[in-house]
């Protein structure tokens, strides 16, 4: 396959995704595109998101119509360098489709990467490891009430060039529901023990929200474990936190209530689908989750304020640090970034809310990739 012709294929966003629907094309056939341009919108049962062009050139073929559903890996479009022959493009499409049919059959028989469990600090920690298995790993740490699936738009993309580990914090996802004191020190220490358990000496640490505070705490307590830090809408930089989100998330037991709470996370509340709400409810129904969330909320956000503010200590770190924030974040104020020591790059994403890594996945992925080399 020549690099002159690039396939745009249906991405796999999360373990449960096996197909996706093209809802709308954002670029006309024959139009020029740059790498990172938004090409189309894809809807899965869980979430709708835009998909970006992997390469620059011309969108020479749109192969799936709006409203059509195709399996993960299927050819959606072709981006060709200017001057690629039409016949060459047709041949590319034909051979891709032939190979895809064979590959799909093989994929149906093979087993995709599945989450595994490891014991860290006496707790069973669930994690998903994907990618090259080489180099300094990237470790992705979700926020309060989240889980490793929050990285569904990031882990697969980053895994193309890195060893990428996403985990469920204690009390979250499929990890143990015992959260000890539930404070930041507990979370950071569990992360350190998790890295030990996986034999990871150093990692590029990426943390979102509470996970941001946790990786920051880890890097401050164990400076040698961090190769770099990427903090997305992190907690730990200022005292404010949206207390109605925290109490709403802990308290909500019903679909409607939960949906309203989750919509606070996104600049575009339409992203909160039936399945997304259902997944959160399924998690919250597990024995032990209610207690775990209450314990963490009480320890980390007592009286609706953040208990630990580490902003000034970021300057103590010897490794590169970057901060990414959605300008429309309603959970942790973007203004907290102002408390950071000068020189720490802050990337403000205008269109995103608290979940920039979902709402502006392409840009966040590029920033993480730039940091991790």
């Amino acid at each position: 396959m020549s690099d002159a012709i690039q396939a745009v294929t249906m991405p796999k966003w999360g373990l449960a995704m096996d197909e996706g629907m093209v809802t709308v094309w954002l670029v006309e056939e024959g139009a020029p595109v740059a790498a990172g341009d938004e090409l189309l919108e894809i809807e899965t049962t869980k979430i709708t998101n835009v998909f970006e062009s992997p390469a620059a050139g011309t969108l020479s073929r749109r192969l799936v119509g709006e409203g059509e559903t195709v399996p993960v890996g299927a050819l959606l479009a072709v981006v060709a360098e200017d001057g690629a022959a039409e016949a060459e493009i047709d041949a590319f499409v034909e051979s891709f489709r032939a190979e895809f049919a064979v590959a799909a059959e093989a994929a149906a028989e093979s087993v995709a990467a599945e989450p595994e469990s490891v014991e860290a600090g006496g707790l069973a920690i669930n994690y998903l490891r994907a990618g090259t298995g080489e180099g300094v790993p990237i470790v992705l740490v979700h926020g309060f009430g989240g889980d490793l699936d929050n990285w569904l738009f990031n882990q697969p993309a980053l895994a193309e060039h890195h060893d990428v580990v996403a985990l469920d914090l204690p009390g979250h996802g499929r990890s143990a529901k015992d959260v000890g004191a539930g404070d930041l020190a507990f979370l950071s220490e569990t992360l350190a023990e998790f890295l030990d358990a996986l034999g990871i000496d150093r990692a590029h640490l990426v943390g979102h929200s509470l996970g941001g505070a946790a990786v920051l705490g880890l890097a401050l307590d164990h400076p040698k474990r961090a190769a770099s830090l990427t903090l997305i809408s992190p907690a730990g930089l200022g005292p404010e936190i949206n207390r109605s989100y925290i109490s709403g998330f802990v308290g909500a037991a019903r679909r409607k209530e939960m949906k309203g709470v989750l919509q606070m996370l996104f600049a575009d509340p339409g992203l909160v689908s039936r399945d997304l709400v259902e997944d959160v409810l399924k998690y919250k129904r597990l024995d032990g989750v209610a207690g775990a969330l209450e314990t963490i909320a009480r320890a980390v956000f007592p009286d609706g304020r953040q208990a630990v503010v580490l902003a000034e200590r970021v300057g103590d770190l010897a490794v590169p640090v970057q901060v990414i924030w959605g300008r429309r974040d309603e959970i942790v104020p973007p203004a907290h970034a102002e408390a950071l020591p000068p020189g720490v790059p802050v990337h403000m994403i205008e269109t995103a809310g608290h979940m920039a890594h979902m709402e502006a996945a392409g840009e966040v992925n590029r920033l993480i990739a730039a940091m991790t080399g």
Binding site: R174, K177, A253, R254, R255, S273, R274, E278, K282, R285, L286, D287, G288
Partner: protein, 337 residues
């Protein structure tokens, strides 16, 4: 998380609750099986194997086989529930309620009210229901509307393995008498079911499909059919909401009304006999409280008012099918068009 069958999900719920709480016991005909007989112990584990393995783990003291004597043991379960245990009694087929109904609706179901709130009766009656097993008129009925009719009882109709586990654990932990109805045709259905214990609250309908044109309310096995229909119609541009009430008592009237307010069209699918069933009840609710939102008459898809027939050809005609549901949806869509 692994795929588990409806049967395994129920078995796992029972085992996990028995491990968690020593007051949980199970009882029923052949729940272990082989008692007093020369062959194997735990010979059956329930007539369809749902309770298999519980007796070897928890012993005969907590997994009680019973004589075929529903009045006595369902009543005993009610009495045990009022005096400190959390019994899960298995009424093998719901059709057998006729021989023990007094103990359910006059005793267990009324203790709390009759005794001025001074009784708790954490009883679960697990029972198998529904047509499609070629089991004829006395082993195929639904009958859940009858339980739903009785104040004091809670009535649960799990429609899938995930639902079955979470709703059964909720039922066991609930302090009121719960009738837990398992559709016999679903036992081998599989889906992802968490290994950990979890609970699904009663009284909140499950939104299994979200659409704009028609609300389909379905319960038990009919949820599966309704989902199939909704998926099929999607390609024809008809967008259906499917609501599974999960519990017919308490009934999530808010979700039903809100959905009909949005879609303006209602199809209710009910495998129970058509007079005084959930379809009539839900239709009456919507007619009374969301009449102004309706763009088309309500359609009820139910079996005919006959006993469940034996011959496969007849039984297949009897059961509400995806085709009949689909036709009803198209009909309400075409109304006035």
């Amino acid at each position: 998380m692994a795929k588990k069958s409806y049967r395994q999900a129920i078995n796992e719920a029972l085992a996990q609750e028995m491990r968690r709480d020593p007051t949980v016991i199970v009882m029923g005909e052949d729940n272990a099986g082989g008692l007093g007989a020369p062959g194997e112990d735990d010979a059956w584990g329930g007539v369809l194997g749902v309770t298999k393995g519980l007796m070897p783990e928890f012993g005969r003291e907590r997994v009680l086989d019973t004589p075929i004597s529903e009045s006595a043991f369902i009543g005993a379960a009610a009495g045990a529930a009022a005096t400190g245990l959390r019994p899960v009694a298995e009424l093998m087929f719901v059709d057998f309620m006729g021989v023990c109904f007094d103990q359910i609706f006059n005793q267990a179901g009324k203790f709390r009210y009759m005794f001025g709130g001074k009784a708790v009766t954490p009883l679960v009656v697990r029972t198998m229901y529904g047509a499609g097993f070629r089991a004829a008129s006395q082993h195929s009925q639904c009958l859940y509307p009858i339980f739903t009719h009785v104040p004091g009882l809670k009535v649960v109709l799990p429609s899938s393995p995930y639902e079955a586990k979470g709703l059964l654990i909720q039922a066991i932990r609930d302090d009121d008498p719960v009738i837990f109805l398992e559709h016999k045709v679903l036992y081998d259905d599989e889906e992802e079911v968490p290994d950990e214990p979890y609970t699904i609250p009663f009284g909140e309908a499950n939104l299994t499909r979200e659409g704009e044109d028609v609300t389909i309310v379905a319960m038990g096995r009919m949820v599966k059919f309704a989902n199939q229909v909704a998926d099929g119609l999607e390609t024809d541009g008809i967008s259906c909401t499917v609501l599974d009430p999960r519990t017919t008592s308490p009934l999530d009237t808010d979700s039903i009304l809100e959905s009909v307010e949005e879609t303006g069209r209602l199809v209710v699918v009910d495998e129970a006999s058509p007079r005084c069933n959930m379809a009539t009840d839900i239709s009456a609710l919507v007619a009374e409280r969301a009449f102004g939102a309706l763009k088309a008459p309500i359609r009820m898809v139910t079996p005919p008012h006959t006993p469940v027939p034996f011959a496969p050809e007849l039984e297949d005609l009897y059961i509400p099918s995806p085709e009949k549901i689909g036709a009803a949806v198209r009909e309400v869509m075409e109304h006035g068009a």
